[in-house]
Amino acid sequence: MKLNVNDVLHDVADDLVDARMPLLWALRDVLGLTGTKYGCGVSACGACTVHLQGRAVRSCVTPLSAAQGQVVRTIEGLGAPGRPHPLQVAWISHQVPQCGYCQSGLLMAAAALLAANRNPSDAEIDAAITNLCRCGTTPRVREAIRAAGRLMPAAARRGGAR
């Protein structure tokens, strides 16, 4: 089976994965991309959010059959060393993370939102970001998304936005 993750085409041994296997476990346990987290396994918490063809999906309920031949992007591919995604810049300047466990999923959900809409309204942010966070980072998430949206046009000119 072939998986295109963060612009790298991975050949995954067929004896280790099958078409029903959720993308989450292929990323974490087969490819070693552990930035994407398990939180509930039932698409309720969003800790496992990744991009499939640029769309935010919950990888714990996305079977590999749906990911084959598609472009998968994970937190490891959101920015690049020395060229962070504007959301990552805003996440640091707003000091969003606490325990940090749910943050990859939050960032990927926010990145999909901003890719479609750099200036989302409160209601649009509320609708797009349904991830759960136990530490209560949510008060800062909204502000950081706004700040990243403001950074994005400049970043896009530098080719930093994805």
């Binding site: 292929a26 398990y38 000091q95 606490q98 940090g100 466990y101 960032l107 759960l132 530490c135 909204r142």
Partner: protein, 761 residues
């Protein structure tokens, strides 16, 4: 600066350094450099500090980072005293040693009233008990991250360790350059002599520094601080914004196998006959392992697979008989009714263990001109850390290696040694980042399970994970509680009597039984956590009796962020609001009158009220409620502004004021207040664990909702400046928000909500 160093005397002839050392208690908390693992190219100066050849500071990190910012705050203490930029300090594994034992968490277990424990007003018995407990805790040496104590515990020893290391480094320069210490300064990790222009980096001086002996060293005075008190950025945030932060479930030793746990559906149940055949037929499933009960967990079964998915599929396919709880199925509705009966009976007889009493509350209640009585209830709650319980273990060649997100690495090591049948010295513990703790990781049940499974896996490392359903269904829950609250006013309308009778399970004896069985008492001693937040109420009421009746429901209970305060603050501050209403007084003014002689509490309450616009009309459709609560040494007031919409109560704004003593990092204090408020609101609005016929009804997040972004209020935190010693911030933000919200909902609707979670009828 009063850094008294006597290195000058060393100029006369090397070695003749000093005094001062002998003045330290024989078991000081400085520790020997040998306590820290040796690393090539780095020089250990004491049990806390190693200096790298490039001058970088390695700080022995004996506290777990679970979101509360402790790695950053402790690094700030070291950077301040060493005069290095914060980013030059790198936390490194401390290992397990008594040196890193948490003393303050034990002192916090004493039940002395705050009016007797204000610095300067401490009673002799309090000082003596504190001293004895610190001695005892030092002997036990239990490394623990909990009780909001990390900064209070590290405040003196860590600053002294860093200051001593600095003195040694400066001393080394002094000896090499034959210049008096007084003429040397440090800037950004470089020792300098202004007149001669000589300079040397810490990395160049470290080897020589290790051989010097400092004189009497004092931490910097307050007015010399450049870092403490600044809102420095957290050291762990960059790795948490790019996915590289490593949590327990992220460790990937070569050859790693994955295991998932299945317990009996019922709490207290166990596996009966287990037929592994069906599970083993699932491709990628390698083993089925039965696990006896460890450290309070129920017996269970683990399915081992090549990936977590294989293990999950195997666990789904597993054919097993599940036995019921031998003592009968638990039922939370019946338990809470029984708690209420117990509290009512104790109130009728003025019974229960009185954690605090003054005057004659029973007589004053009897003689009161008017009385108010109310019954309050709180449910069981789960921790629901976003990273579910997990532990990675390798058992090979008589040695055990653990990678575990834990708040108690030493207890994890002891249990692993016991399960594997090896000496503790043969167990190496690596503490990862914790994807939330909230008290769940003060228990080590999952460590025993992981070691048990690893024993079966021929030397391969195994990562054992609890699926979310197992986590919610087999937690050590925040105990349910009930309270009968009674108060009496005299004919002039003054509050003259207050009595509280609470009932609920004790947490501490249950936790000691399962994690430190050698210390378990044959009978339960009074547990401060059952009454904390009530017996220590700050209000001046002449006749007071705060008593608790400890129960034994059989439900596994544990420490849950803010512990007893999590429900007692609700009972206390919602009832105080009832009393203010009965007295026809403003809720803030009523409290202020009762805070005579406690200026810190009054200042916090005034600050929150002022910033929230208390006394001015709220926006249309909204109302405000207030609560004041002291916990973990910190005083917090919150004003909640709420309305009601189609989805129920909606909190728009929370204004929070805190006095947590000396502030190390105000940005982290603000973050922790936001954290506590959101955590507390999730519980106040939604949190409940129901046990029906022995089985927890809440299976996963859809049944155990948290606060979503859409429902998250605006939160403002205001800090009262203080020169008191630092106190806790990880927990104190939680307790006041539930009563503040209940009080706002009363103002909005006239309904008194006396049961958590808050549901309007």
């Amino acid at each position: 600066m009063r850094r008294r160093t006597l290195f000058a005397s060393g100029l006369a002839g090397a070695g003749a350094l000093l005094v001062g050392w002998s003045l330290l208690p024989p078991r000081s908390r400085l520790g020997a450099a040998s306590t820290l693992p040796a690393v090539a190219g780095e020089v250990g100066l004491n049990g806390w500090i190693r200096i790298a050849s490039d001058g970088g500071v390695r700080l022995a990190m004996a506290r777990s980072e679970m979101g509360q910012g402790v790695h950053t705050a402790l690094a700030m203490l070291a950077a301040e005293e060493l005069d290095v930029p914060l980013d030059r300090v790198t936390p490194v594994e401390a290992g397990v040693d008594g040196l890193y034992g948490n003393l303050e968490v034990f002192v916090g277990a004493l039940w002395f009233h705050p009016r007797d424990s204000e610095p300067g007003a401490e009673s002799a018995s309090l000082s003596a008990s504190g001293w004895m407990l610190r001695k005892l805790a030092r002997e036990l040496g239990i490394s623990m991250t909990g009780g909001s104590t990390s900064i209070a515990d590290a405040w003196e020893p860590l600053r002294l360790a860093a200051a001593t290391a600095r003195a040694q480094l400066v001393g080394a320069a002094s000896l090499q350059w034959k210049l008096p210490v007084d003429e040397l300064g440090v800037r950004a990790g470089v020792v300098q002599h202004a007149r001669s222009g000589r300079r040397a980096e810490y990395g160049e001086l470290a080897a020589a520094a290790a051989g010097t002996r400092p004189g009497t060293v004092q931490p910097k005075p307050r007015d010399a601080w450049t870092l403490i008190g600044q809102g420095a950025a957290r050291l762990d945030v960059p790795a948490k914004a790019d996915g590289s932060a490593r949590f327990g479930i992220d460790v990937r030793p070569p050859g790693l196998l994955h295991a998932v746990v299945r317990h009996a559906p019922a709490i207290g149940g166990s596996p009966g006959r287990v037929d592994p055949a069906a599970a083993l037929r699932v491709p990628g499933v390698l083993r089925v392992v039965r696990m006896p009960p460890y450290a309070g967990a129920d017996a269970a079964v683990a399915v081992v697979g090549r990936t977590t998915w294989h293990a999950l599929e195997g666990a789904r396919a597993l054919e097993a008989e599940w036995r019921a709880r031998p003592a009968g199925a638990l039922d939370s509705t019946r338990i809470v009714e029984e708690l209420e009966r117990t509290a009512r009976a104790a109130a009728a007889d003025d019974d229960g263990f009185a954690f605090h009493a003054r005057g004659d509350a029973p007589a004053a209640l009897r003689d009161a001109a008017s009385r108010v009585e109310a019954v309050y209830r709180a449910p069981y709650l789960a921790h629901a850390t976003m990273e579910p319980p997990n532990c990675t273990a390798r058992v090979a060649g008589g040695r055990v290696e653990l990678w575990v997100p834990t708040q108690v690495p030493g207890l994890a090591r002891s249990l692993a040694a016991r399960v594997a049948g090896v000496d503790e010295a043969a167990v190496q513990v690596h503490v990862t980042y914790l994807g939330g703790g909230f008290g769940r990781r003060l228990d080590v049940d999952f460590v025993g399970q992981a070691v048990r499974v690893a024993i079966e896996c021929d030397g391969a490392p195994v990562q054992l994970l609890w699926p979310r359903e197992e986590d919610l269904g087999h937690d050590f829950y925040r105990p349910a509680a009930a309270a009968v609250m009674r108060a009496g006013f005299d004919a002039q309308g003054r509050l003259v009597a207050l009595a509280a009778n609470t009932a609920g399970d004790a947490v501490v004896p249950r936790w000691i039984e399962r994690t430190l069985p050698l210390l378990a008492s044959p009978v339960d001693l009074p547990d401060r956590t059952t009454s904390e937040g009530l017996f220590d109420l700050p209000y001046a009421v002449p006749n007071l009796r705060i008593a608790h009746s400890a129960t034994a429901s059989g439900v596994p209970v544990g420490y849950w962020r803010s512990v007893g305060h999590s429900h007692n603050a609700f009972f206390a501050e919602a009832f105080i609001d009832e009393l203010a209403h009965a007295a026809r007084q403003d809720a803030v003014a009523f409290r202020l009158k009762l805070l005579d002689g406690l200026p810190r509490h009054a200042a916090v309450l005034r600050l929150a009220a002022a910033r929230a616009g208390w006394g001015t009309p709220p926006p249309p459709g909204r109302a405000r409620g207030v609560a004041l609560h002291e916990s973990f040494g910190s005083i917090v007031a919150q004003v909640v502004e709420a309305s009601i919409d189609a989805a129920g109560p909606r909190v728009h704004r929370v204004v929070c004021a805190i006095d947590c003593g000396t502030v190390v990092n105000p940005a982290i204090v603000a973050q922790q207040m936001e954290s506590g408020i959101v955590f507390g609101l999730a519980a106040a609005l939604h949190g409940r664990i129901d046990i029906v016929d022995g089985v927890v009804r809440q299976k996963n997040f859809p049944d155990y909702p948290l606060l979503t972004l859409a429902r998250t209020p605006r939160i403002e935190t205001h800090i009262v400046p203080s020169t008191h010693p630092p106190a806790g911030v990880g927990e104190p933000g939680v307790p006041p928000v539930a009563p503040a919200l209940a009080n706002a909902l009363f103002a909005l609707t006239g309904q008194r909500l006396r049961e958590l979670p808050l549901k309007l009828s």
